[in-house]
Amino acid sequence: MGNPYEILGVREGASKEEIKKAYRELAKKYHPDQYGANPLKDLAEEKMREINEAYEYLMRNASDGYSGSSYSSSTNYTNTNDYRNTSNYGNSNIYSSIRSDIQRGNYAAAETALNSISTRDAEWYYLMGMVHMRKGWYDSARNYVSTAYNMSPTNPEYRDAYNSMNRNNNNYRSNYYGRTTRNDECDFCIKLWCLDTLCECAGGDLIGCC
C-alpha cells in the first residue's frame, strides 16, 4: 500500500475527524454501486479497497500516534474486521436492532431503518443486501453484498453471504445438468468387469476373485 495519508488526501498527523471527513468524501466519489454496469466499476472497486485500507490503518493508529515509517513495512494490518467496530460505534445499536428485524421477517422495518442511516459502511451494505435478498431483488442484493465483501474482504459473514448466493444457484443447476450422468458408478463397474473378462480371454486376470 502507498502512503495512507496520500491516498486519503489529508496532511500527516491529521485528526480523526479530518480523516473521517476525507474518507466519506472519497467513498461517495468512488463507491462502485453508482457505476452500475459501467466498465469503470472495477477501477472504482480497486480504488475503494485502497481507500478502505488506508482509512482502517489510520483510524487504528491515530490514537497510538502515527510514525511515518511504520506504515510501509507494516504487515499487521490484515485484521480488517475491526473496521466495523471502529468506524461505526454510533451505528452498532441500530444495526443490532435491524438484524433482529431481519430475523423476525420484518423486512420493511429493516429497510426503513437502513435508509435513515447516512454513513454507509460494510455492515450497512451487507444488511441492505440481506433485505433485498428477502424481497427477491437479487440483482441489487448481489451488488450490496459484494460491496460489503469488497470493503471488508476478511469478514467471514460477508464472504459467506456472497459465496452462498452463487453456491445455491450452482447446486440448483447441477440437478438439471447432472441428470444424464446419474449412473456413473454403475457404468464404471461394468467397464471394469468387461476389462477383466477381456484380460481373462487373453490368459491374464485383472481382478483375482472373479
Binding site: D139, N169, Y172, N175
Partner: protein, 289 residues
Amino acid sequence: MFGYVMPCKMELKVRDYEKFKAYYCGLCHTIKDQYGNLPRVTLNYDMTFLAILLDSLNEKPLASKQIVCALHPLSKKLILYDNDPLKYAAECNIVLTYYKLIDNINDDDSLQSKLAIKVLKKHIKDSNLNSYIKESLNKLYKMEGEAYKYNIDEISHCFADLTAYIISQYVKNNAELKEKLYWLGYNLGKWIYIIDAWDDLEKDMKHNKFNLINALYNKDNLSFQELNNKVKENIDFILTSCAYSCFVSLKNLPIKKNQELLCNILELGLLEKMDTVFKRSELVNGQSL
C-alpha cells in the same frame, strides 16, 4: 404472461406428460365453455401451470373424460372438466390477454389486436382481479416508458407482484398459505418477465421496439452481440436465483397431488427453457423434440 413455464418433457413420466396435456386441453375447453370459441386462441402454458399448481392444493380426485376435439378431430383427447382452478385460470387468461392487447394497440395500432379486443371486451367484468391487473399493468407500462430511472429489480417488481397476486388470490382464509404462494408467484413472475425480455432482445433491437434489457443496460448504443456479452452473466444470475426460489418455495407448500409434475416444471423445466433462450441447449440436451 407468455408461455415459458413448461415441463422438461424428456424427464417426465408418461403418466405426468398425459396429465399435463389433460390440464392443457381442459383449460382450453373451459375457456370454450365459459367464453366461447374465439378466445381459445389466447391459451398458454403459463396459465396451465397456474391451474396445475392451484389444483394440487386440494385433495379432490381429478374428473376427466375423453372427447373428440374439433381442433384435433382424428384422435380422442383426455381432458379435465368441472375444475375450479381451471375456471380461475381461464378467467385470468382472458383478462391478462385483454390488457396485453390494449398495450399492443398503443404500441403499433394493429388491426388484429383491435378485432381481438372487440371479442374479449364483453367478458371483462368489474372485479378485484380485473382492476388489480389493470392497475399493475398500467403502472408497469408507465415505468417502462421512463425505464432509465429504475433498475431491473424495481421495474420487474410490478409484474412479479401481479403474478404473485394472481396466484395467491385464489386461496381464501389462509394467510400462511397465501404468503407462501405469493413468494412463489413473485419469483415466477419476475422470471417470466425477464426471460421474455431477454428472449425478444435481438428481435426488438432489430425492429427498434421497446425492450427492457436494451432500455436498462444499453446506454452506449451497443450492438446486440456486445450487449449480449455484457449483461448475459447478470441476467443468468437473476433468472437462476428466481427459478431456485420458486423451487424452494414449492417444497414448502402443502401439495396434495401432481408432486412430480410440479417438481419437474420448477426444477428442470425452467432451466431447460433458460438453456433454449440462452442458446446453450444443444450442448446438454441435443435431442430436444
